[in-house]
């Protein structure tokens, strides 16, 4: 993401440059009228400043032509603005028949996303460049709003009904995803990113395989993609230094955190609950392939080594 100082957001969808076009026209209209009023006020204030307390300037009679002029010209300008913006709005509300449907669920305070063939991710949306996308969105609790400034689009996400948001990304890159409707304590933390990829890369990402990726790295990516870090380390047990350690369970017994235990905890999390935690974690059976579970385990193992050396220092 480009974080340098700028006056305009990035332009990364078919609508973005069109909305900017209208914005520039509005800037021109606003600058013209603001300058007109400012210059007249300053000019009159100097030109007609009070030189003599006893001056009684003659009244200037109301000029009907002038009144009509400054009623009708602004009216015509607003009608131009209306038709321009209405055309853009109708265009952005329309989603092409071949659009790729992606499901979005907003909840306090995360975005849960599912791709057409089942791939899930949290607080991130991967999409192929140039492909029309239509989001089908709903909320699990309060009103949220799905906002991608680089695309110039926003749509409230309501509980109890579905709303749609269509866009076509035009530029590869990572862009901000914000929740724009106040939704409670962590509203400003309900953010993520939209990753626009080349179609081939998107397909590879979708298949869950990136060629020649080391398993631990793939596991790290999955760990983020499935939102594991939303809980683990906070409401859930930390993964750092977990592998190979003895884990105390709720029923008083202990187990060693080996591959078998981690596999069971991912597919059947309720089977063994770590002492002091509540059974909140959903099962990932059917969502993760065995290969992906192995990658996750490889990632957890890698945490083990680096974390423990840090602790010794």
């Amino acid at each position: 993401m480009d974080t340098s100082f700028r006056l305009l957001p990035e332009t990364a969808s078919t609508m973005a440059s069109q909305v900017d076009g209208l914005y520039f026209f509005l800037n021109a209209v606003a600058a013209f009228f603001a300058l007109l009023i400012f210059v007249l006020i300053v000019y009159f204030s100097l030109r007609y400043r009070r030189r003599d307390e006893s001056v009684r300037p003659a009244p200037v009679p109301t000029n009907l032509k002038l009144e009509l002029l400054w009623t009708i010209i602004p009216f015509l300008i607003t009608m131009v603005l209306f038709s321009w913006s209405a055309r853009l709005f109708i265009q952005m509300s329309h989603s092409p028949a071949d659009a790729m449907r992606i499901n979005v669920v907003g909840k306090q305070w995360m975005w849960k996303i599912q791709h057409p063939d089942g791939q899930r991710e949290i607080n991130a949306l991967h999409v192929p460049v140039g492909k029309p996308i239509e989001l089908m969105m709903t909320s699990q609790d309060v009103i949220h709003s799905f906002y991608v400034p680089a695309f110039r689009i926003k749509q409230d996400v309501l509980p109890g009904s579905y709303s749609r948001l269509a866009f076509t990304p035009t530029k590869v890159g990572e862009y901000h995803l914000f929740c724009a409707e106040f939704c409670g304590d962590q509203h400003s933390g309900m953010i993520g990113k939209v990753v626009v990829m080349e179609p081939a890369k998107y397909d590879a990402w979708l298949a869950g395989t990136i060629p020649d990726e080391p398993p631990a790295l793939a596991g790290e990516r999955l760990f983020a993609q499935y939102g594991c870090m939303a809980c683990h380390g906070q409401r859930g047990p930390t993964m750092a230094g977990l592998f190979g350690r003895k884990v105390e369970l709720n029923d008083g017994t202990t187990v060693t955190a080996d591959e078998q235990y981690l596999h069971e905890s991912i597919f059947d999390p309720a089977a063994k609950i770590v002492r002091g935690f509540t059974p909140l974690m959903p099962s990932f059976r059917g969502q993760l392939t065995e290969e992906q579970v192995m990658q996750l385990i490889a990632y957890i193992k890698s945490l083990q080594y680096s974390q423990s050396t840090q602790e010794q220092q």
């Binding site: 480009d2 700028r6 957001p9 609508m15 069109q18 909305v19 914005y23 509005l26 209209v29 606003a30 009228f33 009023i37 007249l40 006020i41 009159f44 007609y48 009070r50 030189r51 307390e53 006893s54 009684r56 300037p57 009244p59 200037v60 109301t62 000029n63 009144e67 009623t71 602004p74 009216f75 607003t78 009608m79 603005l81 209306f82 913006s85 709005f89 109708i90 309060v142 009103i143 709003s145 906002y147 400034p149 110039r152 689009i153 926003k154 409230d156 309501l158 509980p159 109890g160 009904s161 914000f178 724009a180 409707e181 106040f182 409670g184 304590d185 962590q186 400003s188 933390g189 953010i191």
Partner: protein, 547 residues
């Protein structure tokens, strides 16, 4: 006491201020002028609470990460800022303070039509304010001043009901004040004061009162429904109880959009009085200015849906609200053009009230023009719920309404207190507020178009530079608001006597002494000319300023 503070060369000893000094004579007063002073003190208090919340918010926003306060605290701060400033400062500011004081004087009456009702309005206002304060003391409210459901009705763990009850009670204060003004303007005008001889301030407060009476009950009912859903779990707005969350937004904005005009119309009235006096000219296009007030009040009721462009209302609904929103820009534009034309060939004195007044026109123009951006539905989709909106409505409500309140306060202060403030301090603070305001809020237009959402206590690092600029401006603005508090209080003790008409203005309020006697006029004045007849005004005699 060795000196009698209110004695003047005119020899009038008894005024509404000094006829009795007992606390009881203030708290049980039926005099519209004393009630106006009670309101002035109360809203200044609420302004300072709202302002303190703003200071903490701007400090938090100096850095991208949340560090000064917790997220929960920040959410309570912006809620308290909005509730205090909108319901307990801006809405009552010009109507309840200046309107209360001036309407009877301007129409040549002894008091408002219903003096007891007027006092009851103030008590309702204070009770409402105490409930809102209680919600703050109890631990705060975190819903934002908009109370969007189902967050407010189901999910928020804060003191929503207390705040809602406060606003509900306060609403009755507005309704009764509006009723009082309408009846007074209809029935108590002095002989010869026809509708088209009324000062435009009365016209604009008449239009405002219509909105008070028509709009406030809708807000009151809506907030009751939020309370009912919250306490009894009766489904109105929460879909999990069978309600509709968008219904709340329609009902809320049906009042709260016209409420913007409650803040702006009285400001326009003040500006029409001040600009004519300091350019010694009749207002240009009196009838156009008067009827544009009414047009704004009427059209203002038909544009609430522009707050819902991305909420999920139908495309056609959105388009209709968009075109109506453009329409409401026209009468506002007509007013700005007419005020500017009033300056033409005038005799212009840039005294403190006039500086505030010209500041109003400048900032209101920017606020109005950026209204075109948000009426443009496709642009609004991008900028709604961002800092662009924050900047836009602060230009209207602070740059507009507060500047006009300051203009009015400085214009009528000599009338209300009989004292002159320091002219140089006045001009300096007007300049400081204008500069500080622009420095605070102009960067927020850019921030908004860049995509920074509102109500974020932590934000992306690339937004920091503009946020720091905004906070720096806010500190200048803060000093600008503190100065008048000091020099106006100073003037009460050490200010020069003002005399009945220090600015040599037309209007009946200037035809009585300063401060006026309790009964306003010794005998009922008779009006035989239009408003703002500056060209016929006598320029000699004892109406000339004493400074």
């Amino acid at each position: 006491m060795t000196t009698v503070p209110y004695s003047s060369s005119l020899g009038r000893e008894t005024t509404y201020l000094n006829h009795s000094h007992k606390i009881r004579s203030w708290l049980l007063t039926l005099d519209h002028k004393r009630i106006a002073i009670l309101y002035m003190i109360s809203i200044t208090f609420f302004f300072m609470i709202g302002g303190a919340a703003a200071v903490l918010m701007r400090l938090e926003l100096m850095t991208p990460q949340g560090d000064l306060v917790k997220a929960e605290t920040y959410n309570k701060l912006f809620t308290m800022h909005g509730v205090m400033m909108v319901f307990f400062f801006l809405i009552p500011s010009i109507p309840a303070v200046l309107g209360n004081f001036l309407i009877p004087l301007m129409v040549g009456a002894k008091d408002l039509a219903f003096p007891r009702l007027n006092l009851a309005s103030w008590y309702l206002f204070m009770i409402g304010g105490l409930f809102a304060l209680a919600s703050l003391v109890a631990g705060g409210v975190d819903t934002g001043w908009t109370f969007y459901t189902p967050y407010s009705s189901t999910y928020s763990n804060s003191y929503v009901v207390l705040a809602v009850v406060g606003i509900f009670i306060n609403g009755f204060s507005s309704i009764l004040t509006g009723l009082n003004f309408i009846v007074t303007i209809h029935t108590m005008r002095a002989p010869g004061l026809t509708w088209f001889r009324l000062p435009l301030f009365c016209w604009s407060l008449y239009a405002t009162s219509l909105i008070f009476i028509l709009g406030t009950p809708v807000l009151a009912i809506t907030l009751v429904l939020v309370g009912v859903e919250r306490i009894f779990h009766i489904g109105v707005f929460d879909p999990s109880l069978g309600g509709d969350p968008i219904l709340f937004q329609h009902l809320f904005w049906f009042y709260s959009h016209p409420a913007v005009y409650i803040m702006v119309l009285p400001s326009m009235g003040v500006v029409s009085e001040v600009i004519t006096c300091f350019s010694r000219k009749r207002i240009f296009g009196y009838a156009f200015v008067a009827f544009s007030s009414v047009a704004i009040a009427v059209l203002g009721f038909l544009v609430w849906g522009h707050h819902l462009f991305v909420s999920g209302q139908s495309i056609y609904g959105g388009l209709i609200f968009s075109i109506l929103s453009f329409m409401v820009a026209i009468p506002s534009g007509v007013k700005v053009f007419n005020w500017t034309a009033t300056l033409y060939k005038g005799s212009i004195a840039l005294q403190t009230p006039m500086l505030y007044c010209l500041g109003f026109i400048g900032l209101f123009t920017i606020g109005g023009l950026t209204g075109l951006y948000v009426a443009s539905i496709a642009v609004d989709v991008h900028v709604t719920d961002t800092y662009f909106i924050i900047a836009h409505f602060h230009y209207i409500m602070v740059g507009g309404a507060v500047m006009a309140y300051m203009a009015g306060l400085h214009f009528w202060w000599p009338k209300m207190t009989g004292k002159m403030y320091s002219e140089w301090m006045g001009r300096f603070s007007a300049l400081l507020i204008f500069v500080g305001f622009n420095l605070t809020f102009f960067p927020q237009f850019i921030l908004g178009y860049l995509g920074m959402p509102r109500r974020y206590y932590a934000y992306a690092p690339e937004f920091q530079a503009l946020n720091v600029l905004s906070s720096a401006g806010a500190s200048v603005l803060g000093v600008g608001y503190l100065l008048p508090l000091l020099y106006l209080l100073w003037s009460l003790r050490w200010g020069k006597n003002a005399g009945p008409n220090p600015f040599r203005a037309t209007g009946l309020e200037w035809k009585t002494s300063s401060p006026p006697p309790t009964e306003n006029f010794e005998k009922t004045p008779i009006v035989n000319e239009e408003a703002y007849a500056y060209h016929r005004m006598e320029m000699t005699g004892d109406t000339v300023a004493t400074h």
